[in-house]
């Protein structure tokens, strides 16, 4: 089984991390979007935010693992024809990471604004490390919300670009993220 990336394709570790993060990001966004309008007497009123925060913390840990894995691993070369498109793709990937981390930090700052820790599924707690600043929860809340929408926009662009590569350019961009493509001898 091919775990590591190669010059032309992703290995299983990158593939599994990518799709896990993809599903969790979409799910966490949807949960957050839904939970903020819950009725006080909804049975989900407490569980939904707890799940959102717990999954969010784990997502950031997964993203850190991904980031580290990328650093010590080969990066498959981009497949677009033009240097401009390749540079756009690289930048979009970079901003996707940046947004996920920023959303994680802003979410953390909402819940820890009065120095209370964030519980992760009754498993462990993330303490409030920083001395709160003025209006922390409100500012962090607005940032969290708008970066969330921004991330969804960029995710849509990222997905459309992958589909365009698949259906119009008919290259391996999407396929090599579904499973490792066995190396063809030149």
């Amino acid at each position: 089984m091919q775990l590591k990336n190669q010059n032309q394709t992703y290995g299983w570790i990158s593939i599994v991390l990518h799709w896990t993060v993809a599903i969790v990001v979409l799910g966490t966004f949807a949960l957050g979007f839904w939970m903020v309008d819950l009725d006080y007497y909804s049975t989900w009123y407490q569980d939904a935010p707890n799940i959102h925060k717990s999954v969010g913390v784990l997502l950031i840990i997964a993203m850190l693992a991904r980031f580290l894995w990328n650093q010590i691993n080969t990066k498959p070369s981009p497949l677009a024809e033009s240097a401009l498109q390749n540079s756009v793709a690289v930048n979009v990937h970079f901003i996707l990471y940046l947004l996920v981390f920023s959303i994680g930090v802003s979410g953390y700052l909402i819940s820890t604004a009065e120095s209370q820790p964030i519980g992760v599924f009754n498993w462990f707690e993330v303490p409030a490390w920083f001395t709160p600043f003025e209006d922390q929860a409100d500012i962090a809340g607005d940032v969290h919300e708008w970066l969330g929408y921004g991330l969804m926009g960029l995710v849509a662009l990222h997905a459309l670009a992958a589909l365009k590569h698949h259906f119009f350019n008919k290259d391996n961009t999407l396929k090599r993220m579904l499973k490792p493509i066995s190396k063809k001898r030149n």
Binding site: Y41, P49, I110, S111, E114, D135, A137, D138
Partner: protein, 192 residues
């Protein structure tokens, strides 16, 4: 004779004028030293009380110990300072589901009449919250008055009142037991 008369008359005048001049004393609410608090409680699910307070407010009052009706008070509350010791709930309380602090950063109480006795005051006035102004009555009482150890002069009062959230256009439904907010007020003032 004339001299004695004059003396008598001026003494009488002095006593009359000192009675008429029992002017109300002006106080600033001691928010710098925070010997005052605006606390509230709301029932939770019918099972217990959730308490909170406004950390930031200011105001002043006039108190006339001889004639309560000469007294008055006004208080301005910074609605953003609502505090129930829970970041996410406080954020929710500041949102437009409750206090809408972006649109209505201030709440206020301005008395219109104060009647009764030191032990049992009725402080009527207009209470503004969430942009809505309605008359309410605070049941108050004097706690004490006198010199403080640091060269100043103080008086202190406490009061309670209640209002319905719906009366102030706060329509978020917290359940049948939680529609009313109970306020407990402690006010200490330093003489101006």
């Amino acid at each position: 004779m004339t001299k004695i008369n004059t003396l008598f008359l001026s003494a009488a005048l002095l006593s009359v004028s000192s009675a008429a001049m029992s002017a109300p004393v002006s106080y600033a609410i001691d928010t710098p030293g925070m010997h005052a608090s605006i606390n509230f409680k709301v029932n939770h699910l019918g099972y217990s009380w959730l308490t909170g307070r406004f950390n930031s407010f200011s105001g002043d009052y006039q108190y006339d110990p001889d004639n309560l009706s000469n007294s008055k008070i006004n208080v301005i509350i910074d609605t953003k300072s609502v505090n129930t010791n829970h970041a996410e709930r406080d954020k929710h309380l500041r949102s437009d589901d409750f206090l809408n602090v972006k649109k209505h950063p201030e709440s206020s109480f301005v008395s219109t009449s104060i009647t009764g006795t030191d032990a049992d005051m009725q402080i009527k006035g207009n209470f503004t919250l969430n942009g809505v102004t309605k008359p309410i009555v605070i049941k108050g009482s004097k706690v004490g008055e006198g010199k403080d150890p640091w060269g100043g002069y103080r008086s202190g009062f406490m009061g309670t009142t209640e209002f319905k959230l719906a009366d102030y256009k706060i329509s978020k439904d917290l359940g049948p037991a939680s529609g009313t907010v109970y306020l407990e007020l402690h006010i200490e003032g330093t003489k101006k």
